[in-house]
């Protein structure tokens, strides 16, 4: 029996140690590169401290009690006393968790409100607005003020708040740059907002964390923080050299594919903003036919249909999809 208990205690003693050492390794959440991610990290550290306290107390009591009152040869005659409870003890272990909850909820609420604003110390900087459109399975970034658009990478100036306005052309995604800020969903016909600041120039990984189908893995982008000067230079270069994004090209881009990096000297916001409630719907189920038994799909007036789609094969074709071909979407259908 004894060796079981030893093993038991040893096994669970390892866990808090692991948790402790965990904080010191180079995990991205604990290495924030901007005030937003830092405020979240500080909240996490504050909670970790309290939670470690809880873990230590419970583990210690657990180890002590199991060790002291285990059945041994010597105590086989011991008959435990009748004990219904103890009001004082029960009040204590109701009150202490409540106090811990209070200790945690106050900074949580403060941080929740702060995350919606430009971080402290940057209030005087004019935020850079970037519209983010998530599509299967790429990220499209539009700079309305600069009038340029990028795909799968976003350049931002350092030490300046960036206001990402998030939406989606179809499925639900979560926009996450762990080194700079938390995450937020990007949803079709909706706009959510995420503000962040990069303190240092550098390249940070951004990714989608919300599962959205076959191409979900690898739906990543690069956030490149540059000095204001480099950023201005980059904008100017794009204006001079990048190609123009046409509606046709854009529709092609929205198909479910992985794309590399692309750059354009205009934005798709000129003809559609997916965040609008009555925006054109660019969905086409035919492009998502893959394996398994194919069910019927439904034609919508505002669907995006494309008769040249490559994945559309004869046997996957259903009658109801013949009706409205040639309806390529675009602003002439946006009257709904």
């Amino acid at each position: 029996m004894l060796k079981y208990i030893k093993l038991f205690v040893a096994l669970f003693a390892v866990i808090p140690v692991l948790l402790l050492t965990g904080c010191e390794t180079n995990m991205v959440v604990f290495e924030p590169q901007g005030p937003v991610a830092r405020s979240i990290m500080e909240l996490i550290n504050w909670s970790l401290m309290w939670m470690l306290l809880v873990v230590v107390v419970v583990f210690a009591m657990f180890g002590f009690i199991v060790w002291k009152y285990r059945e041994r040869k010597e105590n086989m005659n011991y008959e435990p006393p009748e004990e219904h409870g103890n009001t004082l003890f029960e009040i204590i272990w109701t009150a202490i968790p409540i106090l811990i909850v209070i200790a945690l909820i106050i900074p949580t609420v403060k941080t929740l409100y702060a995350l919606e604003e430009v971080p402290e110390g940057y209030e005087n900087e004019e935020p850079l607005t970037v519209h983010v459109t998530a599509a299967d399975w790429k990220w499209i970034f539009s700079y309305p003020e600069q009038g340029i658009e990028t795909v799968n990478y976003v350049n931002i100036p350092e030490d300046r708040p960036v206001n990402f306005k998030l939406t989606s052309a179809g499925t639900m995604q979560s926009f996450w740059v762990p080194a700079l800020a938390g995450q937020k969903y990007a949803m079709a016909k909706m706009e959510t907002q995420l503000i962040l600041v990069a303190e240092n120039p550098g390249s940070y990984v951004g990714k989608n964390s919300n599962f959205n189908g076959r191409g979900y893995t690898g739906m990543e982008f690069e956030v490149l923080a540059q000095t204001q000067q480099d950023f201005n230079q980059w904008i100017a270069d794009v204006k001079n050299t990048a190609p123009v994004l046409t509606e046709e090209k854009y529709e092609e881009m929205l198909k479910p594919t992985h794309l590399g990096r692309l750059t354009f000297k205009n934005t798709h916001l000129a003809w559609v903003n997916h965040a609008d409630e009555d925006a054109q719907t660019y969905t086409n189920p035919e492009l998502y036919r893959y394996n398994g038994y194919q069910g019927k799909t439904f034609e919508e007036e505002d669907n995006y249909m494309n008769e040249n789609s490559e994945t559309e094969s004869g046997d996957h074709h259903h009658e109801e999809n013949h009706d409205d071909h040639g309806n390529h979407g675009g602003d002439d259908h946006g009257q709904h």
């Binding site: 009555d278 439904f298 007036e301 009257q335 709904h336």
Partner: protein, 201 residues
């Protein structure tokens, strides 16, 4: 378990099993309330998402709906009379009032189906917009419940004719009564929140 008979109680409550069945049915009605509450919540979220399709004012036939309401409310009343006759041990009266209840229910259903057909001819189908999806599913669920209730009541009436008024048939009738009143209550909410509110805009 058929033991524990208490003849001082109304017929439908006399056996322990019947008391359990009735309690079980009340709990089931609780689940039904959650079900309809969820459908109302869905409707509340989607009721303005017309997506370019028809709005409430475009389609609702308020006069017909008023008649439907009247039919269903009356049927709830006649259902109550049926239970009253059951308590008086008057099988004939019970069956007569039940049949009247079902006829009123069938009238309601007939008008509702006509109403739906009218909407569909107007181009307002379940597929038109989120508003209409939630509208048709909320009303359709209620209508399906009424249909089920009518079918179920017919089966129990047959048993009543075959077996007379026993603790078991009495309990079955009583439970159908509960169900019928419940559907009536749901309809009052539908009438208020879907039709009246829809007309006001």
């Amino acid at each position: 378990m058929s033991a524990n008979v208490n003849t001082s109680l109304p017929l439908e409550y006399q056996t322990h099993q019947s008391r359990m069945n009735i309690l079980g049915f009340w709990i089931f009605l609780g689940a039904e309330i959650v079900l309809f509450a969820t459908l109302f919540a869905v409707y509340a979220v989607l009721y303005q998402n017309y997506a370019g399709g028809p709005t409430h004012q475009d389609i609702i036939m308020i006069k017909e709906v008023m008649i439907q309401t009247l039919l269903l409310l009356t049927s709830s009343f006649t259902c109550g009379l049926a239970i009253y006759e059951m308590r008086r041990n008057n099988v004939k009266g019970l069956i007569s009032w039940l049949v009247i209840t079902l006829l009123l229910g069938a009238g309601f259903l007939f008008m509702e189906i006509n109403e739906f057909i009218h909407y569909i001819h107007e181009g307002a189908t379940m597929q038109t917009s989120a508003f209409l999806s939630s509208f048709f599913v909320l009303l359709g669920t209620h209508g399906a419940h009424v249909t089920l209730g009518i079918g179920w009541a017919i089966i129990v009436i047959i048993q009543l004719i075959k077996r007379g008024l026993t603790p078991v048939t009495a309990r079955k009738i009583f439970i159908i009564g509960l169900y019928w009143h419940f559907l009536d209550v749901v309809w009052i909410f539908i009438f208020t929140f879907v039709y009246l509110k829809g007309m006001v805009g």
